[in-house]
Amino acid sequence: MPSAIAETLSGLLLVATLVCAIIRPRGLPEALVAVPAAGLLLLFGVLPLSEAAAEARSLAPTIGFLAAVLLLATFADRFGLFEAAGSWMATGSRGRPVTLLALVFAVASTVTAVLSLDATVVLLTPVVFATVARLHLRSKPPVYACTHLANSASLLLPVSNLTNLLAFSASGLSFARFGATMALPWLAAIAVEWLVLRRFFAADLIGHAEASAVPRRPAPVYACLVLGLTLLGFFLTSVFDVAPAFAALGGAIALGIPLLRSGRTTVRDVALAIQVPFLAFVLALGLVVKALSIHGLGSLVTHLVPGGTSLGSLLLIALVAAVLANLINNLPAVLLLLPAVVGAGAGPVLAVLIGVNAGPNLTYVGSLATLLWRRVLRQRGEELPISEFMRLGALTVPPVLVAATVALWISLRVVG
């Protein structure tokens, strides 16, 4: 097949795959278009079987790791970890809205870093919303903080974001080295978000609440202990050269067994929590992007992305990554960019992650997802305050990108 046709076909299939994954017509699984799309590319020889096999082999450990992290977060939720966090934030705030926002920042950044941005978006945000509503304080600043930090605070660990997991396996960095290098950029991103949000929402951070309005929930000690040990396990695996996915799997088993025994979860729930359709989607998306990559787009991306680890190069890489993540979505963006930077060492790979992780705050969740999702929300009677969100994005994303990338540049010189 001529390369131009192959490229057009892979491009169209990528768009169809993403559109289907975002709107999910009639709730059909996201893999429904992705898997046949990958199959079609294999059938027409657009994607050679050997390339597909190599891509699948490199994605398999990441997909296993993702499954374990998803389980870990689901089980932590079953233990009541997020409700306990809500009650802790309410009590700790003593009814003061600025203190409450600071605690939401701390909890959302930690949950994102340890249990992934998915946990913050799906499991923590509703709890934060309910907590603030019960306190009769304004919910806008804490809810925006959760959605922003889910992206910009997902820089710290490989488990914090699926993009990190994909880059982690390609970069050859150990878990500990990844965390040590990204600690400073993570803190820089959170600090910028705090400074901007605190000012942006100054008019909404007023009043005083009765902290007792939120029922007290004791912290699930066992679940916290297991999560702490899992986190320790992530770092220890890199010392003993074991795949960190095993630490996540160990943690998930330690949480899952008591839940299953006491009937607080069922085997069916566990099977659902692994989200097999999503794992199939990631694999298929990887193959579709690979096809696009080998038929021209890859060399274009390589041309766009500078090599080298000077501050200027890192900033440019982060910028390109942020633009691409906003145009399509951060998942295909990272899959497209990784082959171009992976030979250049840890710095450029981590700069890509700063771009694809913090960048999506600019157009909400990536422009494609925003455009499609807006209609779905309207049908549900929800309103998407697009101009306000983009105004806040325009105020936070550029300084977060610069601050985090400068922090990365310093970190690379200190940690090496």
Partner: protein, 167 residues
């Protein structure tokens, strides 16, 4: 007999206590009072839209939770009841709306309302155009009735005035 005055007090998180207290001091005894709360539809929209970027990662095995608009609705009912109690007027009508806050407030007072009581909610440290938040500013501009603007806490002293312009 003269028809009694109808007053609406706009109850907002963060400023409602001060607003209700000021209204209690200012409104005539015979007035008919309604307490109004509007739940913003955009905040639940922000929370509902965020999963779009996850491309299908939905935590199918998670605990079931109440839909956010229901949570917000229950909190709004509680708030209005607390406001009625603070006002000492259990006969107050409770008006609960959902949508774009500033527009819903203006629509709620469009007919047969003599006075709308509104709390200032802007930046207290910089008195001037920004001492009204955007929604309050909109309501003050567009409300088709008289508006009583109250401080939710202590009013500033005269020393808060900047020096007069020279020349």
């Amino acid at each position: 007999m003269m028809p009694s005055v109808r007053i609406v007090i706009w109850v907002v998180e963060g400023t409602w206590q001060g607003c209700v207290d000021a209204a209690r001091r200012s409104i005539p005894a015979g007035a008919r009072v309604a307490l109004l709360h509007v739940t913003p539809s955009d905040v639940t929209g922000v929370a509902a839209a965020a999963p779009a970027g996850l491309l299908g990662r939905t935590f199918a095995g998670r605990r079931p939770t109440l839909p956010l608009p229901d949570v917000a609705g229950a909190a709004a009912s509680e708030l209005l009841a607390a406001a009625a109690q603070r006002l000492g007027r259990q006969d107050a009508e409770l008006l609960q709306r959902r949508g774009r806050v500033e527009r819903e407030v203006v629509l709620a007072v469009a007919e047969n309302v003599d006075l709308l009581v509104v709390a200032r909610d802007g930046d207290h440290s910089r008195l001037g155009p920004h001492s009204l938040g955007p929604a309050t500013r909109f309501v003050v501009d567009h409300a088709p009735c008289a508006v009583l603007l109250v401080w939710p806490d202590e009013p500033p002293g005269v020393e808060s005035m900047p020096p007069p312009p020279r020349g």
